[in-house]
Amino acid sequence: MKDKGDIESKTDAALNSLDGLQRAAASPFLYTKVQVKLKEDRSAWSALGRFISQPKVAISVCLILLLLNTWILLSVISSRVDERAEQLNDLALEYHFETPALPEQNPIQP
Protein backbone atom coordinates (compact mmCIF):
# COMPACT_ATOMS: atom_id res chain seq x y z
CA MET A 1 0.00 0.00 0.00
CA LYS A 2 2.84 2.29 1.00
CA ASP A 3 4.63 1.27 -2.17
CA LYS A 4 1.61 2.20 -4.29
CA GLY A 5 1.35 5.60 -2.63
CA ASP A 6 5.06 6.16 -3.23
CA ILE A 7 4.72 5.32 -6.94
CA GLU A 8 1.72 7.67 -7.24
CA SER A 9 3.62 10.53 -5.64
CA LYS A 10 6.67 9.94 -7.87
CA THR A 11 4.39 9.93 -10.92
CA ASP A 12 2.80 13.21 -9.85
CA ALA A 13 6.23 14.72 -9.22
CA ALA A 14 7.36 13.70 -12.72
CA LEU A 15 4.19 15.11 -14.29
CA ASN A 16 4.73 18.41 -12.48
CA SER A 17 8.46 18.58 -13.19
CA LEU A 18 7.99 20.96 -16.12
CA ASP A 19 6.20 23.56 -13.98
CA GLY A 20 8.23 26.74 -13.84
CA LEU A 21 10.32 25.70 -16.85
CA GLN A 22 12.52 28.49 -18.24
CA ARG A 23 12.66 29.00 -22.01
CA ALA A 24 15.84 27.59 -23.59
CA ALA A 25 17.96 30.24 -25.32
CA ALA A 26 19.20 29.84 -28.89
CA SER A 27 22.78 30.56 -29.89
CA PRO A 28 23.66 34.28 -29.83
CA PHE A 29 25.20 33.80 -33.31
CA LEU A 30 22.05 32.40 -34.84
CA TYR A 31 21.51 35.38 -37.16
CA THR A 32 25.00 34.93 -38.68
CA LYS A 33 24.38 31.20 -39.12
CA VAL A 34 21.05 31.89 -40.83
CA GLN A 35 22.79 34.35 -43.18
CA VAL A 36 25.35 31.66 -44.12
CA LYS A 37 22.54 29.17 -44.75
CA LEU A 38 20.71 31.72 -46.91
CA LYS A 39 23.81 32.24 -49.06
CA GLU A 40 24.22 28.47 -49.48
CA ASP A 41 20.56 28.20 -50.35
CA ARG A 42 20.95 30.67 -53.22
CA SER A 43 23.26 28.29 -55.12
CA ALA A 44 22.25 27.02 -58.58
CA TRP A 45 21.31 23.50 -57.52
CA SER A 46 19.04 24.61 -54.74
CA ALA A 47 17.42 27.13 -57.09
CA LEU A 48 16.78 24.26 -59.51
CA GLY A 49 15.43 22.13 -56.66
CA ARG A 50 13.10 24.92 -55.56
CA PHE A 51 11.87 25.38 -59.14
CA ILE A 52 11.16 21.66 -59.62
CA SER A 53 9.46 21.30 -56.25
CA GLN A 54 6.90 24.00 -57.05
CA PRO A 55 3.50 22.23 -57.19
CA LYS A 56 2.58 23.54 -60.66
CA VAL A 57 5.94 22.51 -62.13
CA ALA A 58 5.87 19.10 -60.43
CA ILE A 59 2.29 18.41 -61.60
CA SER A 60 3.09 19.53 -65.17
CA VAL A 61 6.15 17.26 -65.33
CA CYS A 62 4.08 14.33 -64.01
CA LEU A 63 1.37 14.98 -66.63
CA ILE A 64 3.93 15.16 -69.44
CA LEU A 65 5.50 11.88 -68.30
CA LEU A 66 2.07 10.26 -68.08
CA LEU A 67 1.11 11.43 -71.61
CA LEU A 68 4.46 10.27 -72.99
CA ASN A 69 3.98 6.85 -71.41
CA THR A 70 0.45 6.57 -72.79
CA TRP A 71 1.63 7.57 -76.27
CA ILE A 72 4.49 5.02 -76.20
CA LEU A 73 2.14 2.29 -74.96
CA LEU A 74 -0.44 3.02 -77.67
CA SER A 75 2.17 3.11 -80.44
CA VAL A 76 3.66 -0.22 -79.28
CA ILE A 77 0.20 -1.83 -79.24
CA SER A 78 -0.67 -0.53 -82.73
CA SER A 79 2.69 -1.66 -84.18
CA ARG A 80 2.10 -5.14 -82.74
CA VAL A 81 -1.37 -5.27 -84.35
CA ASP A 82 0.15 -4.27 -87.74
CA GLU A 83 2.88 -6.87 -87.36
CA ARG A 84 0.34 -9.58 -86.59
CA ALA A 85 -1.83 -8.63 -89.58
CA GLU A 86 1.23 -8.72 -91.82
CA GLN A 87 2.14 -12.19 -90.56
CA LEU A 88 -1.39 -13.42 -91.25
CA ASN A 89 -1.26 -12.00 -94.77
CA ASP A 90 2.05 -13.74 -95.42
CA LEU A 91 0.61 -17.00 -94.15
CA ALA A 92 -2.50 -16.59 -96.28
CA LEU A 93 -0.39 -15.91 -99.36
CA GLU A 94 1.84 -18.89 -98.72
CA TYR A 95 -1.04 -21.34 -98.37
CA HIS A 96 -3.30 -19.62 -100.94
CA PHE A 97 -5.91 -18.65 -98.40
CA GLU A 98 -6.91 -15.61 -100.43
CA THR A 99 -10.58 -14.88 -100.60
CA PRO A 100 -11.79 -16.58 -103.75
CA ALA A 101 -13.05 -14.39 -106.56
CA LEU A 102 -16.77 -14.37 -107.21
CA PRO A 103 -16.76 -16.73 -110.28
CA GLU A 104 -14.69 -19.23 -108.27
CA GLN A 105 -17.22 -19.25 -105.49
CA ASN A 106 -19.92 -20.50 -107.84
CA PRO A 107 -18.13 -22.64 -110.36
CA ILE A 108 -20.22 -23.80 -113.31
CA GLN A 109 -20.70 -27.48 -112.95
CA PRO A 110 -20.29 -29.48 -116.08
Partner: protein, 193 residues
Protein backbone atom coordinates in the same frame (compact mmCIF):
# COMPACT_ATOMS: atom_id res chain seq x y z
CA UNK B 1 7.73 48.51 -35.45
CA UNK B 2 4.34 46.79 -35.38
CA UNK B 3 3.61 43.39 -36.93
CA UNK B 4 2.04 44.67 -40.18
CA UNK B 5 4.96 47.02 -40.76
CA UNK B 6 7.42 44.23 -40.04
CA UNK B 7 5.71 41.94 -42.59
CA UNK B 8 5.75 44.66 -45.27
CA UNK B 9 9.43 45.32 -44.67
CA UNK B 10 10.19 41.60 -44.72
CA UNK B 11 8.35 41.29 -48.03
CA UNK B 12 10.59 44.07 -49.34
CA UNK B 13 13.57 41.88 -48.25
CA UNK B 14 14.84 44.51 -45.83
CA UNK B 15 17.77 43.10 -43.88
CA UNK B 16 17.09 45.06 -40.70
CA UNK B 17 13.55 43.65 -40.58
CA UNK B 18 14.88 40.13 -41.01
CA UNK B 19 17.40 40.64 -38.24
CA UNK B 20 14.61 41.90 -36.00
CA UNK B 21 12.53 38.82 -36.80
CA UNK B 22 15.41 36.45 -36.00
CA UNK B 23 16.49 38.22 -32.84
CA UNK B 24 12.94 38.57 -31.56
CA UNK B 25 11.87 35.03 -32.29
CA UNK B 26 14.92 32.78 -32.12
CA UNK B 27 14.44 31.69 -28.50
CA UNK B 28 10.76 30.84 -28.95
CA UNK B 29 11.46 28.84 -32.12
CA UNK B 30 14.48 27.08 -30.60
CA UNK B 31 12.61 26.23 -27.40
CA UNK B 32 9.66 24.82 -29.36
CA UNK B 33 11.90 22.70 -31.61
CA UNK B 34 13.92 21.54 -28.61
CA UNK B 35 10.79 20.49 -26.74
CA UNK B 36 9.58 18.52 -29.75
CA UNK B 37 12.74 16.78 -30.90
CA UNK B 38 14.71 16.76 -27.61
CA UNK B 39 18.10 17.22 -29.28
CA UNK B 40 19.97 20.51 -28.94
CA UNK B 41 22.01 20.41 -32.19
CA UNK B 42 19.10 19.31 -34.35
CA UNK B 43 16.86 21.92 -32.69
CA UNK B 44 19.35 24.63 -33.67
CA UNK B 45 19.46 23.37 -37.26
CA UNK B 46 15.67 23.42 -37.36
CA UNK B 47 15.60 26.96 -35.94
CA UNK B 48 17.89 28.12 -38.76
CA UNK B 49 15.76 26.30 -41.35
CA UNK B 50 12.60 27.92 -39.97
CA UNK B 51 13.99 31.41 -40.60
CA UNK B 52 15.29 30.46 -44.06
CA UNK B 53 11.85 29.08 -44.96
CA UNK B 54 10.09 32.08 -43.41
CA UNK B 55 12.16 34.51 -45.47
CA UNK B 56 11.63 32.44 -48.62
CA UNK B 57 7.87 32.28 -48.25
CA UNK B 58 7.16 35.70 -46.74
CA UNK B 59 5.73 36.76 -50.12
CA UNK B 60 2.96 34.16 -49.74
CA UNK B 61 2.22 35.12 -46.14
CA UNK B 62 -1.37 36.26 -45.67
CA UNK B 63 -2.06 38.13 -42.48
CA UNK B 64 -5.02 35.79 -41.69
CA UNK B 65 -2.99 34.31 -38.86
CA UNK B 66 -0.45 36.24 -36.83
CA UNK B 67 3.26 36.03 -37.49
CA UNK B 68 3.63 33.97 -34.29
CA UNK B 69 1.16 31.28 -35.42
CA UNK B 70 2.86 31.17 -38.82
CA UNK B 71 6.36 30.75 -37.35
CA UNK B 72 5.21 28.16 -34.81
CA UNK B 73 3.47 26.23 -37.60
CA UNK B 74 6.66 26.13 -39.70
CA UNK B 75 8.60 24.99 -36.61
CA UNK B 76 6.14 22.20 -35.79
CA UNK B 77 6.11 20.98 -39.42
CA UNK B 78 9.90 20.97 -39.66
CA UNK B 79 10.29 19.22 -36.30
CA UNK B 80 7.76 16.54 -37.22
CA UNK B 81 9.45 15.99 -40.60
CA UNK B 82 12.75 15.62 -38.75
CA UNK B 83 11.29 13.08 -36.29
CA UNK B 84 9.75 11.05 -39.13
CA UNK B 85 13.03 11.05 -41.04
CA UNK B 86 14.84 9.91 -37.89
CA UNK B 87 12.28 7.14 -37.37
CA UNK B 88 12.75 5.95 -40.97
CA UNK B 89 16.54 5.99 -40.52
CA UNK B 90 16.20 4.00 -37.30
CA UNK B 91 13.99 1.45 -39.04
CA UNK B 92 16.49 1.18 -41.89
CA UNK B 93 19.31 0.78 -39.34
CA UNK B 94 17.35 -2.01 -37.69
CA UNK B 95 16.95 -3.78 -41.03
CA UNK B 96 20.72 -3.48 -41.59
CA UNK B 97 21.36 -4.78 -38.08
CA UNK B 98 19.13 -7.81 -38.73
CA UNK B 99 21.00 -8.42 -41.98
CA UNK B 100 24.27 -8.34 -40.04
CA UNK B 101 25.51 -4.96 -41.25
CA UNK B 102 26.47 -2.10 -38.98
CA UNK B 103 23.28 -0.17 -38.38
CA UNK B 104 20.81 0.83 -35.67
CA UNK B 105 23.22 3.25 -34.04
CA UNK B 106 20.86 6.22 -34.23
CA UNK B 107 21.17 8.25 -31.06
CA UNK B 108 17.74 8.47 -29.44
CA UNK B 109 19.03 10.72 -26.66
CA UNK B 110 17.50 8.72 -23.77
CA UNK B 111 18.59 11.19 -21.07
CA UNK B 112 17.47 14.46 -22.54
CA UNK B 113 17.23 17.21 -19.97
CA UNK B 114 15.79 20.55 -21.04
CA UNK B 115 18.18 23.34 -19.98
CA UNK B 116 15.33 25.35 -18.47
CA UNK B 117 14.25 22.69 -15.95
CA UNK B 118 14.76 23.58 -12.30
CA UNK B 119 17.78 21.83 -10.79
CA UNK B 120 15.84 19.81 -8.19
CA UNK B 121 13.42 18.52 -10.84
CA UNK B 122 15.96 17.39 -13.44
CA UNK B 123 15.71 13.66 -12.73
CA UNK B 124 11.90 13.59 -12.87
CA UNK B 125 11.92 15.79 -15.98
CA UNK B 126 14.26 13.38 -17.79
CA UNK B 127 11.85 10.51 -17.05
CA UNK B 128 8.90 12.64 -18.18
CA UNK B 129 10.64 13.63 -21.46
CA UNK B 130 11.32 9.96 -22.12
CA UNK B 131 7.60 9.23 -21.64
CA UNK B 132 6.67 12.17 -23.92
CA UNK B 133 8.68 10.53 -26.73
CA UNK B 134 6.31 7.54 -26.61
CA UNK B 135 3.16 9.65 -27.10
CA UNK B 136 1.27 9.63 -30.41
CA UNK B 137 2.39 12.50 -32.69
CA UNK B 138 -0.51 14.94 -32.20
CA UNK B 139 -0.56 14.45 -28.43
CA UNK B 140 3.21 14.95 -28.29
CA UNK B 141 2.96 18.22 -30.22
CA UNK B 142 0.06 19.60 -28.17
CA UNK B 143 1.62 18.61 -24.84
CA UNK B 144 5.03 20.00 -25.76
CA UNK B 145 3.63 23.31 -27.03
CA UNK B 146 1.57 23.64 -23.86
CA UNK B 147 4.09 22.55 -21.25
CA UNK B 148 7.46 23.46 -22.76
CA UNK B 149 6.59 26.59 -24.72
CA UNK B 150 3.71 27.53 -22.41
CA UNK B 151 1.24 28.30 -25.19
CA UNK B 152 -2.47 28.63 -24.40
CA UNK B 153 -4.92 26.13 -25.92
CA UNK B 154 -6.37 28.72 -28.32
CA UNK B 155 -2.94 29.40 -29.84
CA UNK B 156 -2.16 25.65 -30.11
CA UNK B 157 -5.50 25.23 -31.89
CA UNK B 158 -4.54 27.92 -34.45
CA UNK B 159 -1.15 26.29 -35.05
CA UNK B 160 -2.59 22.80 -35.51
CA UNK B 161 -5.80 23.96 -37.26
CA UNK B 162 -7.91 22.43 -34.49
CA UNK B 163 -10.68 23.75 -32.28
CA UNK B 164 -9.88 24.63 -28.69
CA UNK B 165 -12.00 21.67 -27.56
CA UNK B 166 -10.00 19.29 -29.73
CA UNK B 167 -6.75 20.60 -28.23
CA UNK B 168 -8.16 20.19 -24.72
CA UNK B 169 -9.05 16.60 -25.48
CA UNK B 170 -5.59 15.96 -26.98
CA UNK B 171 -3.96 17.33 -23.82
CA UNK B 172 -6.25 15.25 -21.61
CA UNK B 173 -5.37 12.06 -23.48
CA UNK B 174 -1.69 12.98 -23.43
CA UNK B 175 -1.79 13.37 -19.63
CA UNK B 176 -3.59 10.04 -19.22
CA UNK B 177 -1.06 8.25 -21.42
CA UNK B 178 1.85 9.89 -19.63
CA UNK B 179 0.44 8.89 -16.24
CA UNK B 180 0.09 5.26 -17.41
CA UNK B 181 3.59 5.26 -18.85
CA UNK B 182 5.13 6.81 -15.71
CA UNK B 183 3.26 4.46 -13.38
CA UNK B 184 4.56 1.46 -15.27
CA UNK B 185 8.07 2.95 -15.30
CA UNK B 186 8.11 3.47 -11.51
CA UNK B 187 6.55 0.05 -10.90
CA UNK B 188 9.26 -1.65 -12.95
CA UNK B 189 12.05 0.37 -11.32
CA UNK B 190 10.79 0.56 -7.72
CA UNK B 191 13.66 -1.47 -6.29
CA UNK B 192 16.32 0.44 -8.15
CA UNK B 193 15.38 3.86 -6.82
Amino acid sequence: MNETELIVRLQQKEEAAFRQLVEGWKDRIYNTALGLIQQAEDAEDITQDVFVTALGSIGEFRAESGISTWLYRITVNKSIDHLRKKKRKKLFGLVLLIRGKNGGQENDNPDFIHPGVQLEKKQEAAILFSAIRKLPEQQRIAYSLHKVEGLPMAEIGKILNLSEGAVESLLQRAKQNLRKSLLSYYQNNRHER
